[in-house]
Amino acid sequence: MLTLAIDTATPTLVVGLADGDRVLAEAGVPSGTRHAELLTPTVTDVLTRAGVALADVGRLVVGLGPGPYTGLRVGIVTAAALGDVVGAPVHGVCSLDAVGDGPRVVVTDARRKEVYWRAYDGAPLAGPGVGRPEELDLPDLPVVGDARFAERLGRGVAPAEVTTAGLLRAVPAGPPAPLTPLYLRRPDAVPNVVRKPVTR
């Protein structure tokens, strides 16, 4: 079965097309905060390179984060809409599960000087969580992910990113669950209310 995989939880947007677990085409686009602009063109590009029509896609996989919210939602709503038109199920996965493989701690940029993290020992061991690198008490496993945090973690970080193969491996068994993003922070931690107060 053909699977279209999408992830926008990190600054590199990832789109892949796989037949079973064989990846036919994949793109990792360093898009920073331009996921909304670049995602659908990247989907078109990957489908073209794989020689596949969107209508032939039998299922979708999408990263539910954790990741910066605005970009994260772009990937999720895109996958939901594509799946809606094509009539294919959309499976949400933890994006951190798609970074690296085997026993490890994955760290990605959570902005505001924090990292998202999750630890694996074959299966998920702890997390996902969010916190300041210097305050985290991470298991003693190799750390992979965003290497810019090595110094603040006081540990070596092997650079690794979300991959299509990783997204496919992360799909849980069973029917798809609702596509609820892994926000990890509450919105009212930032009551950045739009209307200005009455000035007297």
Partner: protein
Amino acid sequence: MAEPLVLGFETSCDETGIGLVRGHTLLSDALATSMAEHERFGGVVPEIASRAHLEAMVPTVHRALADAGAALSDVDAVAVTSGPGLTGALLVGVAAAKAYALALGVPLYGVNHLAAHVAVDELEHGRLAEPSIAMLVSGGHSSILLVPDLSQDVVELGRTIDDAAGEAFDKVARVLDLPFPGGPPIDRAAQEGTASIAFPRGLTGPRDPAYDFSFSGLKTAVARWVEAQQRDGVHVSVPDVAASFQEAVVDVLTAKAVRACRDHGVDHLVIGGGVAANSRLRAVAQERCDAAGIVLRVPSRRLCTDNGAMVAALGSRLVMAGVAPSQPDLGADSSLPIDVVSR
């Protein structure tokens, strides 16, 4: 294309609006709102709005389709608000619209939310006379526009130099302990009151710019007046304050809109945006337009505030005018200028 079926997406603020329009005919207008979740903050919290848009998106699309008795495969074009508005909120709609357009193999139009507030009137009153003068009065904007061609030529004649009209209603409502958004409760309260307090009419002096607005001084004047009464232990009549404030806003808005029509030799005025739902504005605008020989058009209340049908209406207008669709790398522009109808 004679009568395109257009699916419209609106997520610029706290309403997830999905509309279906064929030509100038409204087929459906499905709305999900996160308004109640913002009320305790006294304003829209962008992150809460964005989260709600994501949750509501696919179900609201299907509600719009079901209400219209249409299938996704019937859709000829997709239109989406790509600005102005809250970036994070806009992007949920833009991403969804791009994905639907791609999967359906139909053109995508990124449109201006403000032009859509004007275009929605075509669903009820048919094609706009062109040129028309349009007055856009909403929560974030207050402008007078000359509209030679709604599909591509909109000229701003004037705008607010501080608060938008709707913003003034929302802030004065807070002064009066009325709920958010403040427009509807002030409108209701004013019906029980008399416009007996002379609040200032901003930018109406002979040397002031003819088509610009200022509502910040008015809001401050209301706040001061209420404070002074309370300090003196005098009972404040909320209906009278509401009616007096509303009268000041309506007086300035309608006078300047009629003046713009006269100055430009245009005999059609259309009013759009959330404040156009105001009953006093509708009544006074009608009186003054009748007296000046101007044909007035205002959408029904339901279509004045944000909705998806207004976006579909403008999209439909663009398709019929043969305007080029948006590029595949369309994004959102939180401060999209009012004269950019589509991008």
